[in-house]
């Protein structure tokens, strides 16, 4: 049992660590801001989940205590990560950051930017 739990801890920690690392690698590797955003929002969140699971298991190793409060951290991350991502991408749109050329849906981007920075007149935004 103990042994099994240790393996689980090790597994989750490694999994989490890898995802965290992958998220950060994505941050560095991706060519434009919008693509960079994906790594941290998703991979890192999952990585955190892994590490927290590892932690839960680890602290539950000792017989007299269980540790489940790490779930809270996951909960908060799940709530907050989309918001951060959303705000960031809004900022990027506002700053008219350019996506790399092969990005499809250029007109959506333009529309988003136009909307974000209030350049178009008010009524123009409510079309579509």
């Amino acid at each position: 049992m103990q042994h099994w739990m240790e393996w689980a801890v090790a597994f989750f920690l490694l999994l989490g660590g890898s995802f965290v690392l992958i998220g950060s690698i994505g941050l560095v590797r991706m060519p434009d801001f919008f693509m960079r955003l994906h790594g941290p929002t998703k991979a890192t969140t999952l990585g955190m989940g892994g590490i927290l699971l590892g932690s839960i298991f680890y602290f539950s190793l000792s017989p007299d205590s269980i540790s489940v409060h790490e779930l809270l951290i996951t909960l908060f991350l799940l709530i907050t990560a989309p918001v951060s991502a959303h705000m960031l991408i809004k900022t990027a749109l506002h700053h008219r950051l350019q996506a790399i050329e092969r990005t499809q849906g250029e007109q959506e981007l333009k529309r988003g930017q136009a909307h974000a920075s209030k350049e178009g007149n008010r009524s123009g935004n409510t079309d579509n």
């Binding site: 908060f76 709530i79 907050t80 989309p82 918001v83 959303h86 705000m87 809004k90 506002h94 700053h95 909307h115 974000a116 920075s117 209030k118 350049e119 935004n125």
Partner: protein
């Protein structure tokens, strides 16, 4: 005690005119005269004792620590001076009653005059040198007020200031001298000092003391080269001049010479300094007096000259000379006071003091003219008048000294020359004013003054004549007693007879009279000669000097303090480098012997990140937002470091403060430029880098040295007593709310006060409200992004839950009221960010300053509660209760204290951030609205 009243009465007299301010003028004058009159009577009451050679004393303890007592000493010299001060003072009161016009404030004048009289009486009656100095300075102040009585006249103001500056400077020298005397003799008692003449004269400091002492005397007595203030003090009303420059103020210096004669005189240095100064002053004054067209100017220089004469007499160091000096003090006081008053009458009744305009007044005011002529004759040393007698004695003494060796003959010669000029200016005074044709260009027709205005002059002139005719009867005793106290016991034989037979002094007098007349008759050539000399107006020169001094001061000041904060900072940093760095250089090795902890890769990474981000903050400091991001990395790393080194409480606090700080800085950046322009020159940057790295090295080295040293601390006590005495297992928290709860109370007070201050700063602030960001992009249209708003609303209850949790566990585990408060505040701030001020205000309309106050009050009352149990403030209380079903729970007063902390933190943080946010809520300029 009666002695004390002699001093006290004039002091009380200062108040009398103020109380009698609304009375009629005569009544006011009369009332003012009463106290000095009584004082005079009391003085005379003591006369017999003093004439018998007694010295009367009265002492009252005042400041024993300083050796300063109220101590009065009435001996012959003091008696003589008191007599002059009170007597002439009374006459001046009478005279001023008529002299002052309706526009002048008589009560004010009398009050100043009485103050001055008090000061003079204080000087002459002091038996304690510090007390003497006190009154000495008081004369400077009161004379300043008197000279500037007509403050609307520029020359009065300037003259007064000059007099104050010169006599003030002298006073400070005198203070030094007196204190040194006190140190030499071990007492500030005049009796002791006068009795220790030998000790003083042989002491190594004697030259220094003497010079300082004489500086005090000479400035006060207008001795060359400090004489120039006196003529310029003539801007004062004439009663003031008559009082100050005949019998009192200028005589104070002479008095001091006489008073300390037994203690200080009798050395070659004394002789050289005093007699040469006196002689020079005598000559310069006499010579210059002749050329003054202003009546009072002439008298002023004549005063200088006569003061020089007296000084010379005291300087010669022989007993007889001293007697002559004392005698001349009396004579000069009488004739000079009457002359000043006569000049005042002339000025008052004819409207001018210019001798080029005043001519032939004999026809208009014969009585006054007669009186003035008698007094002037006394000044010139005409026989049968008092001036003659003392001048004869003076001549005699000049002949009897041999201190200059083979050059000794020069003194009588110079004395005669001075006397010649003295005769000449006296003649000018008489002839130019009362004869010499008709008045020119006077604005009013001169006439005799009111009866009682002339009376003081009459009294004094009668005295001049009486003394001149029958000196022995009139003032023999007085002179004897005064000389007795000056010489300290042994008065030489002297004769006060009018006639000593044909002798050399008489010849000198005759020569003086004859040559003086001759010079006066041929004065035109001398005037022409004098006009060719460059004239220096002392007042202008002095003012220019002062202006130049002020300008230099300003230049220096502005050079040192250029108003640049950066420079001030540099001084602070230099101080750190020097003061903290210097001791380090004396250390052999920084390492203190405590083994270092091992470094692992993770810690090294953390440190590297800290260093890199700190460096990046500096590099990017011009792009402010980037710098902000960088410094939050620093903050994050610091928190992680705290975590790493077993300080979870610190990490929590640092993190939450970090977030609030960043929000704050973001808020602030809206109102500040987003970029810092490049301004510092490369050399400046280089200098700053140098300074910064030196400070860094010093601080880092100290830190290293401390960390590697073994250490004993009081902390073990906290570890041992946290649970048993404080009821908590989180020692840090127990320290905060219990062991050092007082600190925490101060700390939350700081937070609360800062919030109040910020609120204050933001009221009525004229803000810049940029309508686009630094790059010129207009602001986004969406104020409250939907996602954020919704999430913020759901985060709030969870955050509250967490903060309750953190709050309650604080006493036993990391957490506590402060962190809980910050979490709550941040959650609410998130609402502000996501929904705006109006939205929040519609749902929660609380005045945060009140929240702050309540929080602090809770903390305070918790602390005070222990007083009810007669325990010291903030004594904590805790206990464990058994509840059925729920088991044991702990209740502690620290929880209540922490609640206060919590509420204060919430209130303060919200007050700071929300009031900052509130600034822009209304009328936000936008891109589309015309601005």
């Amino acid at each position: 005690m009666i002695l004390a009243w002699i001093l006290l009465l004039p002091l009380l007299g200062t108040l009398v005119p103020l109380l009698a301010a609304n009375w009629r003028r005569s009544a006011c004058a009369l009332a003012t005269a009463i106290p000095p009159a009584i004082a005079l009577m009391l003085l005379l009451y003591h006369g017999s004792a003093v004439f018998a050679g007694e010295t009367l004393r009265y002492t009252l303890g005042w400041i024993p620590l300083l050796g300063l007592d109220i101590s009065i000493r009435l001996d012959g010299l003091a008696f003589l001076f008191s007599l002059l001060i009170l007597g002439i003072g009374l006459l001046i009161i009478l005279y001023a009653r008529y002299y002052l016009s309706e526009q002048d404030s008589m009560p004010r004048f009398y009050a100043y005059l009485m103050l001055f009289m008090t000061a003079m009486m204080g000087i002459v009656l002091s038996n304690n040198v510090l007390q003497l100095w006190m009154f000495w300075e008081l004369t400077s102040i009161s004379s300043f007020l008197l000279i500037s009585f007509w403050w609307h006249k520029s020359e009065a103001r300037r003259g007064a200031r000059m007099a104050l500056a010169i006599t003030g400077a002298g006073g400070l020298c005198l203070l030094a001298a007196l204190l040194l005397l006190g140190q030499i003799t071990g007492s500030y008692d005049l009796d002791v000092i006068l009795a220790s003449g030998a000790v003083i004269r042989e002491h190594g400091w004697y030259p220094l003391v003497l010079v300082l002492f004489l500086l005090g005397c000479f400035t006060k007595s207008a001795q060359f080269p400090f004489h120039f203030w006196l003529p310029n003090a003539m801007a004062a009303p004439t009663p003031v001049s008559a009082y100050l420059h005949s019998a009192t103020m200028v005589k104070a210096g002479i008095f001091l010479l006489a008073r300390f004669y037994p203690a200080m005189a009798g050395t070659d240095l004394w002789f050289l300094l005093v007699s040469i100064t006196g002689l020079t002053t005598l000559l310069v004054g006499a010579y210059l007096a002749l050329f003054k067209h202003d009546l009072k100017g002439l008298l002023a220089y004549s005063t200088i000259s006569h003061l020089g004469l007296i000084t010379l007499l005291f300087g010669m160091g022989t007993d007889l000379a001293a007697v002559a000096g004392v005698f001349h003090i009396i004579n000069h006081a009488t004739f000079k006071a009457s002359l000043f008053m006569a000049a005042g009458i002339i000025d008052h009744e004819s409207g001018s003091r210019d001798m080029r305009k005043l001519n032939g007044l004999w026809h208009f005011m014969p009585i006054t003219a007669t009186l003035a002529m008698v007094a002037a004759a006394a000044m010139a040393g005409v026989p049968l008048l008092n001036g003659f007698l003392s001048k004869e004695m003076f001549f005699a003494e000049t002949l009897h000294q041999h201190l200059l060796g083979s050059l000794s003959w020069i003194i009588p010669v110079l004395a005669t020359i001075a006397a010649i000029f003295s005769v000449a200016y006296s003649m000018r005074f008489i002839h130019d004013v009362f004869f010499n044709g008709k008045p020119k260009g006077l604005t009013k027709t001169p006439h005799e003054p009111p009866r009682y205005m002339r009376m003081p002059v009459e009294v004094l002139v009668v005295l001049c004549i009486l003394v001149g005719v029958a000196p022995g009867y009139v003032i023999g005793d007085l002179l004897q007693a005064a000389s007795f106290s000056v010489l300290g016991g042994t008065v030489p034989e002297y004769s006060l007879a009018i006639w000593h037979g044909f002798n050399l002094p008489l010849l000198m007098s005759v020569v003086a009279l004859a040559a003086g007349s001759l010079i006066y008759i041929n004065r035109k050539h001398l005037f022409d000669f004098q006009n060719t000399l460059p004239g220096v107006d002392a007042l202008t020169a002095f003012e220019q000097l002062m202006a130049a001094l002020a300008k230099r001061c300003q230049q220096f000041y502005n050079w040192l303090d250029n108003g640049s904060l950066q420079r001030y900072m540099v001084f602070v940093l230099l101080a750190i480098i020097v003061l903290a760095g210097a001791p380090l250089l004396e250390l052999d090795t920084l390492f203190g012997g405590r083994p270092e902890l091992p470094v692992d890769a993770v810690n090294a990474t953390g440190a590297a990140m800290l260093l890199i981000s700190a460096f990046a903050t500096v590099v990017f400091h011009r792009q402010r937002v980037v710098a902000l991001l960088m410094i939050s990395v620093v903050g994050l790393m610091v928190s992680i470091a705290f975590t790493r080194f077993s300080a979870p409480d610190l990490a929590l606090t640092q993190l939450s403060v970090e977030v609030v700080t960043i929000i704050l800085l973001m808020l602030a950046l809206f109102f500040l430029p987003h970029k810092t322009p490049k301004q510092s020159s490369p050399t400046r940057v280089l200098r700053d880098i140098g300074l910064a790295s030196m400070v860094g090295v010093v601080i880092g080295s100290i830190s290293y040295a401390i960390m590697t040293r073994p250490f004993n601390t009081i902390s073990d006590y906290f570890l041992a007593n946290a649970k048993t005495g404080g009821g908590g297992t989180n020692v840090v928290n127990v320290i905060l709310v219990d062991f050092r709860g007082f600190d925490t109370m101060g700390e939350i007070a700081v937070l609360g006060i800062a919030a109040l201050g910020i609120f204050k700063l933001l009221t009525r602030i004229p803000v810049f409200k940029p309508s686009s960001d630094g790059e010129g992009r207009p602001w986004a249209r969406e104020r409250h992004p939907l996602l954020l708003a919704t999430v913020a609303q759901s985060i709030l209850p969870m955050a509250l839950m967490v903060s309750v949790f953190i709050f309650f566990r604080g006493h036993n585990l990391p957490g506590g009221g402060f962190i809980a408060g910050l979490i709550t505040a941040v959650a609410i701030i998130l609402l502000y960010i996501s929904q705006g001020v109006d939205w929040v205000k519609a749902r929660m309309n609380i005045e945060y300053q009140r929240v702050v106050a309540i929080g602090l009050l809770i903390a305070l009352l918790t602390g005070l509660a222990s007083l009810l149990f007669n325990r010291p403030f903030l004594t904590s209380w805790f206990d464990y209760f058994k509840l059925p079903l729920f088991g044991e729970i702990e209740l502690a007063s620290a929880i209540a204290f922490d609640l206060g902390v919590y509420i204060t933190v919430v209130g303060a943080t919200l007050l700071i951030l929300a009031s900052l946010g509130k600034m822009t809520t209304s009328h936000r300029p936008t891109h589309q609205e015309p601005t």
